[in-house]
Symmetry: C2
Subunit: 352 residues, 2 copies
């Protein structure tokens, strides 16, 4: 029977897998509620969340970033100057400020400047592009691809290829990671990115990459000292022959290792595994019957934390956004109205 | 570029798969927000949601069901008499009232009385059991298992076995459904239920059932004229040889059919497919590379709606629940604090 002391925060029954799922969702579970971050709005649509230390710097550029109070709210929002009417103007204006920040050594995230852009999108359209190192400063949704390379070994059973990141990588140097992964840069499709990264990171030849199988996506919301990471990773599985060994061709990988599935599960709990790559490994181990309702006490909770409702977190709309102006500070979206309600109430209560 | 008219509710770009995912989440997306349903609380923990027409009848049994206002809220909650201190007493008391309702022909749901019970649980413990036909009256979370039986056909490619439910079944008679499915009754484990149902519904022999692979779970929140269905289905895949044909042995199935994957996808859009079985088929087609980011424009949204955060919807706690009494009308849970905030604000604003 239940007792009054079973408060989940200190639940002794919580599995280590659930604890790990909470770790890569640290912002979703903790930061979002604190209310320190403000909606980042472009063309009337919330596309991100900005923390106070970033807002302090944006305030110095009022020609680009407006800090304004919503009609019925008590707290500010950060808005890209609505006078910038198109993709190109918005991209150039933001890029200019980001390069200033970078020269001033302002943010640790910008030390990893990539000269490769991510799209910043509303639910329907691309609104601007931004260097991929900077999206975490604005809490903009990130999309990437990850490939689970696996072998059905005759004696060891299901085995998974992991890569060890190069010590010279700007993010997570030296950490263990999935066999192949990469961000979705402007102008590249999802499958296209997967095939490109498979060639660059692991030299997967054409006759093997044709076995690539799309297997869904994972979504989570992580926070680090660099910023906010509302990430969605498109997941692919690739069965490989026993005698194939991945070989890096772009200098971003220092090692590959083939691990039996159960050893792979142990590896994700190690501090030398890239935290934000854990969701894809866990999802693979769940889909392939290694993690099951029988051996994982928090099975359904873990699966929920592999698919957090990211698009439902960014529901703020400015009242002057055309047709929605009359009755909607927060417009209806297609799903998770509870979260819409949450945001709306939080904004009105001055929490968000 | 985005325009002011892209309100998602009338989004012409919305795929038919997203529309279907919204259909089997009709309560999650619409009903939950209306605020007509009240928390159902047992031993201080919210375990369900009760609609007004059910509350009207529960009011006639004040010795079992208390309607009470939460300390800081403006609306009622429905509480099982806290004097019932153990599983057995609670189960007997509720069962007695449900049988009265049934004799009076009170609810259409109870016409399907099964003499088979589901557990009603807090996050940690079983609090009582209830006939499975009645859980939808209380919006209690339902757990089931479903098995995707599939064949890698030499010429037709990936094919999936579907069953047509018997015309005499109490729920969804004559509708198309997954090969094998069953609810998690009191006293049965997840894998155990899958194996039992595979034998009863499709006569899967032992040498084939040993290939059963656990593949995750789907969660959604549906509403019908019978009541509320916050369902979590544990999903299994079973590869079958080309020459095996399922054969029903319990009279609950009138037909089995093997469909190529793309025909199976078409079938879920038909009105003669059981709505609440669509999520498992869609999840299977996503995991096996049939539905991909390339051919499904709302890929990430659909996957989100296959994994809605059900446990985050039931966060109400009574203030006198022991250790949590001092500061928590709504206690912290392990995830989705935004939804907790939503519930809390909704209750305090008199919406829920």
């Amino acid at each position: 029977m239940t007792t009054a002391s079973d408060e989940p925060a200190a639940d002794p029954k919580m599995s280590r897998l659930l604890k790990l799922a909470q770790k890569f969702n640290c912002f979703y579970l903790n930061g979002f509620m604190k209310g320190d971050c403000r909606p980042f709005v472009v063309d009337g649509h919330q596309v991100g969340l900005v923390s106070q230390n970033v807002i302090e710097q944006l305030l110095k550029h009022p020609e680009v970033f407006h800090i304004r109070a919503p009609e019925h709210g008590k707290q500010n929002i950060v808005e890209l100057n609505p006078a910038f009417r198109d993709y190109s103007t918005r991209s150039q204006q933001v890029d200019r400020i980001l390069r200033e920040f970078r020269e001033q050594g302002m943010f640790v995230a910008l030390k990893g400047w990539r000269d490769e852009c991510y799209d910043v999108k509303s639910s329907a359209d691309s609104l601007l592009k931004m260097d991929r190192s900077a999206t975490c400063l604005f809490g903009v949704r990130n999309y990437g691809v990850e490939i689970n390379g696996y072998v059905r070994h005759p004696t060891k059973g299901l085995c998974i290829w992991l890569q060890q990141r190069s010590d010279t990588k700007q993010t997570w140097p030296g950490k263990w990671d999935n066999m192949v992964s990469g961000g979705l840069a402007v102008g590249y499709g999802v499958l296209e990115t997967a095939i490109k990264e498979a060639a660059e990171e692991a030299s997967i030849p054409g006759h093997l990459i044709k076995n690539l199988v799309s297997a869904g996506c994972v979504s989570f919301f992580f926070e680090s000292e660099r910023g906010l990471f509302p990430n969605t990773e498109f997941v692919y599985d690739l069965e490989l022959p026993e005698d194939f060994v991945p070989d890096n061709s772009d200098g971003e990988v220092q090692n590959f290792q083939l691990l039996p599935a159960h050893e792979c599960l142990e590896r994700v709990f190690m501090p030398d595994f890239k935290t934000t790559s854990c969701p894809v490994v866990i999802d693979f181990l769940i889909r392939h019957g290694i993690i099951t309702p029988e051996n994982e006490s928090n099975f359904t909770q873990v699966i929920e934390l592999l698919h957090v409702p990211l698009q439902s977190l960014y529901t703020y709309r400015t009242p002057n956004n055309g047709a929605a102006a009359n009755n909607a500070t927060v417009a209806a979206t297609t799903n998770a109205p509870d979260l819409i309600s949450s945001n709306k109430n939080s904004i009105e209560n001055g929490k968000l």
